[in-house]
């Protein structure tokens, strides 16, 4: 059986976001691109599942929809341990467009387990995994925070409001994963980086579809007023302000 992990590249989470072109586009000057944090955790767990499977999982493949400049990010995923990669050669315009491309990748590759991150740290669509599962009609769970392969079945834990559920799911299966699925992402070792250079990275053309949404303009949050500071011995004064003046408590 084969696992597909869908990844995208996003600005490093410490990036100070700026816009350009009259607030119509992200200013990419100086941005460091990283694997979307949730996708990176998904990949980490996928590799652990493969290693624990005693050969039942033959390979972990990563797929991304993006232009050639996304390749360093894909190589990083290969360096971390993915066996091979697929890049759909098209800009990731909106969630629908990306999900349609990935559905094609899943179908032509025969992947029975698909993992995606819960959200992406750029445009926060939080949609690709859910759309992909619908397009494939796979069994699916969201906010998956633990996952294991048990025989031919998936045992997964997911967060619910105020608690957790443990569930058993049959294949084919798509997991939309969140924090907890893995804690620390794997860091590529030198040997992994060397090996990544020669691992197969297949570039495929996109299938024909449109996009359904478009970000027309951006804005930054309004800056907040100055902080009203109190000294360590003025706790009572702060509580008084919060209670009587701001009426917050």
């Amino acid at each position: 059986m084969k696992i597909l992990v869908c990844i995208s590249e996003v600005p490093d989470t410490t990036t100070k976001i700026r816009f350009t072109d009259g607030n119509k586009a992200l200013d990419t000057a100086g941005i460091q691109w990283i694997i979307n944090p949730w996708d990176e955790l998904a990949l980490t767990r996928a590799l652990e599942i493969k290693e624990a499977s005693g050969g039942a999982v033959e390979a972990v493949t990563v797929a991304t929809v993006g232009a050639a400049q996304a390749e360093p990010t894909i190589r990083k995923a290969l360096a971390v341990g993915a066996d091979n990669a697929i890049r759909v050669d098209a800009p990731a315009t909106d969630a629908w467009y990306v999900a349609v491309q990935l559905a094609e990748v899943v179908k032509s590759g025969g992947f029975e387990i698909v993992m995606t991150g819960r959200d992406s740290a750029d445009y926060n669509g939080a949609s690709v995994g859910g759309m992909l599962a619908a397009l494939l009609d796979y069994n699916t769970l969201s906010s998956v925070s633990s996952m294991a392969l048990d025989g031919g079945k998936i045992i997964a834990g997911r967060e619910i409001d105020g608690g957790t559920e443990t569930l058993e799911a049959e294949l084919p299966f798509l997991a939309v994963v969140q924090k907890g699925i893995a804690i620390e992402p794997r860091i590529p070792a030198m040997r992994g980086i060397m090996m990544a250079r020669t691992k197969p990275l297949q570039v495929v053309p996109p299938v024909d579809t449109g996009c359904l949404t478009e970000n027309v303009e951006f804005e930054l949050p309004k800056s907040r007023g100055a902080c009203r500071k109190f000294a360590a011995d003025e706790v009572k004064a702060l509580v008084d302000v919060l209670h009587n003046e701001a009426k917050l408590i």
Partner: protein, 321 residues
């Protein structure tokens, strides 16, 4: 034409996120000159369904009470059937865990444009343009939807719950043949009586400055006193001092309470992204130059070990009056 709302229930009751969503839907329907229909899946008592009328639903579709867990595939099929029956052009989901899971499943089946994390009413209806959060709380986008049917999820605490009116919704049985997914529940663990982080009006959060899990008793005590939820920063959940479900920030939960109290949290950009929509922020930190003070409205420069007990005592005092 109609606006269809997925009325999520928890243990058979409609909570704040659902009522907020209906309040939002009612305003949208008014602007579109149409009405709101809600759909509830799972076991909910009729009087609870009727109550949705107070928040603007004219009709509630009561569907498939035999589901005890979220079954994304089956629920999406039921909601799509409701969309077709009610000729809905706008479908709204709460930005809760389950609402966020269902919206893309429904949107993909309808090939409808989806905008998640919406924070305000549309600025335009034709074409539909809505404001949403992007870059994990660090910016907003105006997003245009180009399809005839639109799906939106509303960020929790972004709109507020309207004052309930006197309306009563008509309840209509709406059973749909939807095969269950090959997924079964093994175990469920629930904490009862705890305020949910994403629902809470007040959140009290602790960071690495608290030095260890043993000091979170102070955070819990303050939260309980204020009827607040507890949260934490990323290093705290990574270290296992607190559960991941409490992690506030870019890769955890993005929240918008009325009051956020950050204790021993330095204010890394990843954390600030998760709290920037809070209406008011109070910071307690012993480093006067900590970046958290750049986003806080009120701050105390001091050690949590002395500040928090004093704060708890002072709040007890004002509450007793």
């Amino acid at each position: 034409m109609s606006v269809l709302v997925y009325a999520e229930n928890r243990d058979g009751l409609f909570r704040k996120a659902t009522l907020e969503l209906l309040s939002y839907a009612a305003e949208m329907a008014k602007a579109m000159n149409t009405h709101v229909v809600a759909i509830a899946i799972g076991c909910v008592q009729t009087d609870e369904l009727v109550k949705l009328g107070q928040y603007g639903a004219v009709k509630v579709l009561k569907s498939n009470p035999d589901f005890n867990i979220l079954d994304i595939k089956a629920f999406a099929k039921i909601i799509v059937a409701a969309v077709e029956k009610e000729q809905a052009t706008v479908i709204l989901f709460p930005g809760s865990i389950n609402g966020s899971a269902l919206a893309p499943a429904v949107a993909a089946r309808l090939k409808a444009g989806l905008v998640t994390g919406v924070v305000a009413l549309p600025t335009s209806f034709d074409p539909l343009v809505v404001k949403k959060m992007v870059f994990t709380g660090k910016a907003f986008a105006a997003t245009k939807v180009t399809t005839p049917v639109k799906v939106l999820t509303l960020s929790q605490n972004s709109f507020g719950v309207a004052e309930p009116g006197t309306g009563a919704a008509v309840v209509e049985e709406f059973g749909v043949e939807a095969a269950k997914s090959a997924i079964s529940l093994v175990e469920v663990k629930k904490q009862t009586g705890k305020v949910l982080l994403t629902d809470a009006e007040i959140v009290v959060s602790g960071g690495r400055g608290l030095k260890g899990p043993e000091n979170f008793g102070l955070i819990e005590e303050l939260a309980e006193l204020l009827g607040a939820a507890t949260g934490c920063s990323r290093p705290v959940s990574d270290e296992g001092w607190r559960p991941h479900s409490e992690h506030v920030g870019q890769t955890g939960k993005i929240i918008a309470p009325v009051l956020y109290i950050a204790c021993g949290i330095s204010g890394a950009i990843q954390h600030v992204g998760g709290i920037s929509s809070s209406k008011h922020i109070v910071a307690v930190n012993n480093d006067k130059d900590a970046p958290i003070f750049d986003v806080a409205d009120y701050g105390i420069v001091g050690d949590f070990k002395t500040v928090l007990p004093e704060m708890i005592a002072a709040i007890r005092e004002v509450k007793a009056k």
